[in-house]
């Protein structure tokens, strides 16, 4: 609860800082604000309770997710050092929007009332529309932002329609008690359930509501692509879980077949679509679709385990994704073509020879995303497969395993390129902060690959 207040206030403060002469202060101040928010998150540790007329529910589980979201944001924002050098950039605005968007994400993981869920999703989404177009002079960025906004608005409409139907059927927005089929209103309830799920599945980029993903990921500045694929996804999945495990848990017979079909579709479209991508960001976009499929698998299983699996999966996916996009940001700024940074896969050609550190970071990230043992990604997949197996959905698991095999192919493309002899790059400069972040993400990936229980046993 406190981070919501803290982030709202510091967001405003950040906007004011933007007026100051010394723009260099904005970056360290923003990081400090995020750290403050992180600290305030733990005020409620071991003090579960409800806030704002039972609108928000706070417990240790939600605090863990707050921490994950805020730490992810700090790690990603770490790459924006030196942002103020670009004359057209307005760092204060971006940092402020990031802080506001976190408010939305935090609402999404601790809502108790569907109004709060809607509010959270919208705060986060609107912030993301703006951040996607942050590079104002980039026509593709603008196109992506508009596309994202139009489609997002459409999805919002569906979500809101679903909520309205749900209210009509049950007379409440509160998700505290489960709802059951039966009676005259069940038709509305079904429509409400379906539409709400569709609206949220759009946000986490599950197929067939994924079409915006490749275009938006590619068009957005890399730093916000990383933001989108980690924070939005984590918050979205927790929200989905909360809805499915509480108010819709009685409707499991109704929605599981739909989720199972969407899992299969997401895995197929994500993995098969990634195969031919030359742009690293598009590749990561398809990868993000396929990971949405894997995380949905956990929702099909037993609810006791599912949240832990989603949490573990989000963390390892976030770590690997930050590594991958971080390397892309660091390397791509060395190669400008036609006034734009070069973001194709072959950017990484000869990286191992040029800069062994970055290559190691990239390779470990790719191995983790592909789910190779001794990286966290392996256990992430293992846990969701185990959850799905507990529900007996073996055909979905077989599909998922087959698709993981395809994933090896495209995740290894950058790896192989980085190992090749020829390099097209001059020496690459990495600032110490970025190096530090890489160390954290890479080390975390390995540690979670060897000792998964240190995180998995949290709940």
């Amino acid at each position: 609860m406190y981070p919501i207040i803290s982030l709202s206030v510091t967001g405003l403060l950040t906007l004011f800082l933007g007026f100051s002469e010394n723009k260099k202060i904005v970056f360290p101040a923003s990081i400090a604000f995020l750290l403050i928010a992180l600290a305030t998150a733990f005020i409620d540790w071991n003090a579960p309770g409800f806030y704002f007329n039972d609108m928000l529910q706070v417990n240790n589980t939600s605090i863990v997710f707050w921490a994950i979201l805020i730490i992810s944001a700090i790690l990603i924002m770490g790459f924006s050092e030196g942002f103020e050098r670009f004359e057209f950039a307005q760092p204060a605005e971006y940092f402020a929007i990031v802080q506001f968007s976190l408010v939305g994400a935090i609402m999404m993981v601790s809502f108790k009332n569907l109004i709060m869920l809607f509010l959270g999703i919208e705060i986060l989404s609107v912030a993301m529309y703006v951040l996607t177009g942050a590079d104002k002079r980039n026509i593709r960025g603008n196109e992506a932002a508009l596309k994202y906004f139009l489609m997002g608005a459409f999805a919002t409409g569906i979500l809101l329609f679903g909520m309205a139907m749900f209210y009509g059927a049950t007379g409440t927005f509160n998700i505290g008690s489960g709802v059951f089929i039966g009676g005259d209103n069940s038709f509305f309830l079904w429509i409400g359930c379906t539409f709400m799920l569709i609206g949220m599945l759009f946000k986490v980029a599950a197929a067939p509501f994924h079409l915006w993903t490749p275009d938006v990921y590619e068009g957005a500045p890399t730093i916000f692509t990383a933001y989108m694929s980690t924070i939005v996804k984590t918050a979205g999945f927790v929200a989905l879980f909360k809805v499915l495990s509480t108010t819709f848990s009685g409707l499991q017979d109704f929605w599981w077949i739909m989720i199972a079909v969407l899992v299969t579709l997401s895995l197929m479209i994500g993995n098969i679509g990634a195969v031919s991508q030359n742009s690293f960001k598009r590749l990561m976009a398809y990868s993000s679709i396929s990971h949405a499929g894997f995380m949905l698998l956990a929702l099909l299983g037993d609810h006791e385990n599912a949240l832990g699996s989603i949490m573990f999966y989000s963390v390892v996916y976030t770590l690997a994704t930050i590594s991958a996009f971080g390397v892309l940001m660091v390397v791509s700024k060395e190669r400008i073509e036609k006034g734009r940074v070069y973001e194709q896969n072959d950017l990484f050609k000869g990286l191992a020879q040029n800069n062994g550190f970055l290559a190691t970071v990239l390779i470990i990230a790719m191995l983790s995303l592909a789910g190779i043992p001794l990286t966290g990604g392996f256990w992430g997949k293992f846990f969701v497969f185990r959850d799905a197996a507990s529900s007996g959905l073996f055909w979905v698991i077989i599909m998922a395993v087959l698709m993981s095999a395809i994933a090896i192919y495209y995740y290894f493309k950058p790896v192989l390129l980085s190992m090749s002899k020829k390099t097209s790059l001059e020496s690459i400069t990495i600032n110490p902060l970025a190096k530090f972040i890489f160390a954290i993400t890479t080390f975390g990936t390995i540690v979670l690959g060897i000792f998964p229980w240190i995180l998995r046993s949290l709940f």
Binding site: L146, M151, W190, I198, F202, P208, W212, W255, M258, M268
Partner: protein, 649 residues
């Protein structure tokens, strides 16, 4: 750490130093490290022996829990008892001597460090094999010695035929190893454990002739056939002579090839329970002994003669085991380790003196040139021929006496083999050391006695070949049979399951008669060899000149050719078929097809990605509609009809 664990640890450290530091460690350090590792291991063995002797109880030294799967728990533990302590003495003792010998023998070789590293690795594996407290550790050692054997046979890897010999040894051993492995699995299935103590304890509760024990013992024996070169898996051993001579002495005569006998003696309870397997072993041993001895008659390569002799002697050991005379078989392992190592090292010394010549038709009259080698070689020859009072006489005679009691026909065949043994060994000795020199002038000028690092092991082994047999006097001499008394506790299990075990029914007069007969035969063979090769100075014939049965023998019964046709060719044909048809046409098609299918689907799925927002929203709407129909098609229809019905009313 306990003393016991140090025994294999020293060679392992030696291997790591010489192996990792290969080409970096100066030559002056390589040999002391290698020899030192073996020597320290030997000294530790002596210490452990005293520790063991203090109360005579089997010592189990667990190091760590290794594999725990379900109810199966396999620990990494060593077992010190009567059997393993003797094997330890042989391995570390003879091993040390041969390491010392290698210092001189290999001194001009560029792979000096590599050689010592491999030798140490071999010692380590062999020690694991005999010290393990369960079948799995034995199997690690079993595979480890196989690997070292492969590496050392192909040590001079610049010659491709040596590489072929190494591969042949490895592949034939793999065939045996498969049997051994199946045996291990059967043991797990039958007993639920691999630890010797608990397997043998459980086995004592079983009936003789138990069918699953028969399968277990049979499968284990297949492993022994490969490792100890018995019919049909023996043809690799003569080819293994491609390796350096110390290797032939250590691995292919004294230690590794006897591990099959060790395994049978170790599992004596199981074998006693299965008389059918024992009978099979005895006959395989008899046939191998005869076949190999007859091939050895007309070989001209000094090492090949010794190699076939080894195969034949291993056959005798298995005959002993097959007639349930485990001690006698094992006794022969001990004496054979002494005199065969001596003969091989002597042959190495001859080869060294002859500037790497191995063909005895080019030798002759070496007695005066290399006296120490010649004298020690003579001792070895007498010992293997079974003339008293040298080591071979005691052990071989004991086996033959037990065979006589068991089966007269088998005894007769064994005697024929024994006669041939004495004949070909003296033929070898006379052709090498007496008569005129038949080599080139250059070789004659180069003739020289070997350095002391090579002659000292020869002298020590010669001494052991003379007195080695005294640990087991026959009963009729009224002297103690020290070995039998020492090993006796090993057979408690066998005695428990078979009341007949260990009882001898031979009368003393029969025994005297048998002994006299076998000495007489050996003496006759010596005389015949002397008459042909010294008196008449018959020259060894070129194998291509031979005719009739001699040619068949010299060409080893065409067994290699037969194996070529029976096994190698069909396998090659089959592998061609699998490669060109199954792999290229079927499996590759499937694999490539998967890739093609994936890229086809990829093209289809990326077609959705038009970039047009309107199209995207259309797709989304269709998807929403599809989901609605999927989820509640029937409900929608019901609703529709109910509204329709309401209006028409």
């Amino acid at each position: 750490m306990s003393l016991i664990a140090l025994i294999p640890l020293f060679p392992l450290i030696g291997f790591l130093i010489n192996g990792l530091g290969y080409k970096k460690i100066p030559k002056a350090i390589v040999a002391p490290v290698g020899i030192g590792a073996a020597l320290l291991s030997f000294i530790t063995t002596v210490l452990v022996y005293f520790q063991f002797k203090a109360d005579g109880q089997t010592i189990i030294q667990p190091l760590f829990d290794w594999i725990t799967v379900g109810g199966l728990n396999i620990s990494f533990a060593f077992q010190i008892d009567q059997l393993s302590i003797i094997m330890l003495f042989i391995i570390t003792g003879v091993g040390t001597l041969i390491h010392l010998y290698s210092k001189g023998y290999m001194s001009h070789d560029e792979g000096y460090g590599k050689f010592f590293a491999y030798l140490n690795l071999f010692l380590f594996s062999m020690l694991l094999l005999v010290m393990g407290a369960n079948y799995l550790i034995m199997f690690i050692g079993w595979e480890g010695v196989g690997l070292c054997s492969y590496l050392l046979i192909g040590f001079w890897n610049k010659r491709s035929d040596f590489g072929d010999a190494a591969r042949k040894a490895f592949i034939m051993n793999r065939v045996g190893d498969l049997g051994f492995l199946i045996g291990i699995f059967l043991i797990i299935r039958q007993f639920g454990t691999l630890e010797y103590l608990s397997v043998f304890e459980q086995a004592q509760g079983l009936e003789m002739g138990n069918i699953s024990i028969m399968f277990i013992t049979f499968c284990l024996f297949i492993g022994a056939m490969g490792k100890s070169a018995q019919i049909p898996l023996f043809t690799w051993l003569p080819d293994a002579m491609a390796g350096p001579t110390p290797v032939s002495a250590l691995i292919h005569a004294a230690t590794m090839v006897t591990s099959g006998i060790y395994m049978v003696v170790r599992s004596n309870v199981l074998y006693t329970l299965s008389p059918d397997t024992l009978e099979f072993i005895a006959w395989i041993g008899t046939l191998t002994a005869l076949l190999a001895a007859s091939i050895a008659l007309f070989q001209n390569d000094i090492k090949k003669v010794l190699a076939y002799s080894t195969v034949s002697q291993l056959g005798y050991m298995f005959i002993g085991l097959g007639v349930m005379a485990y001690t006698s078989g094992f006794f022969h392992v001990i004496t054979h380790a002494f005199f065969k190592a001596l003969l091989f090292l002597g042959a190495g010394s001859v080869i060294h003196a002859m500037s790497d010549e191995q063909d005895i038709s080019k030798m002759g009259g070496l007695w005066s040139k290399i006296k120490i080698t010649a004298a020690t070689f003579l001792i070895g020859t007498i010992a293997i021929s079974g003339l008293p009072p040298f080591a071979g006489f005691f052990s071989k005679d004991e086996i033959l006496a037990h065979v006589f009691e068991h089966n007269k026909a088998m005894w007769a065949l064994a005697m024929v083999g024994s006669f041939m043994t004495a004949f070909y060994m003296f033929r070898l000795f006379f052709l090498t050391f007496t008569g005129k020199f038949r080599g080139t002038k250059e070789q004659e000028d180069h003739l020289h006695e070997s350095p002391s690092s090579m002659t000292i092991p020869l002298i020590v082994l010669a001494g052991l070949s003379i007195v080695g047999g005294f640990i087991g006097f026959p009963e009729i001499f009224h002297l103690p049979h020290a070995l039998a008394d020492f090993l006796s506790p090993l057979y408690d299990g066998s005695r428990a399951v078979n009341p007949e075990f260990g009882l001898v029914h031979l009368s003393h007069s029969t025994e005297w008669m048998l002994m006299g007969f076998s000495v007489l035969l050996a003496a006759v063979a010596l005389g015949v060899a002397w008459f042909i090769y010294v008196k008449k100075e018959t020259q060894p014939a070129d194998p291509s000149q031979l005719g009739g049965i001699k040619k068949v023998l010299a060409d080893k019964y065409y067994l290699d050719e037969a194996y070529q046709i029976a096994f190698v060719k069909p396998v090659e044909k089959a592998s061609q078929f699998f490669y060109s048809t199954i792999d290229k046409k079927a499996i590759d098609r499937v694999v490539e097809g998967t890739g093609d299918l994936t890229s086809l689907l990829n093209r289809l799925s990326t077609k959705l990605q038009t970039g047009s927002t309107g199209f995207y929203i259309l797709v989304m709407s269709i998807a929403v509609a599809a989901i609605l129909i999927l989820n509640m098609g029937t409900e929608i229809a019901d609703q529709f009809f109910s509204i329709f019905n309401a209006q028409t009313k």
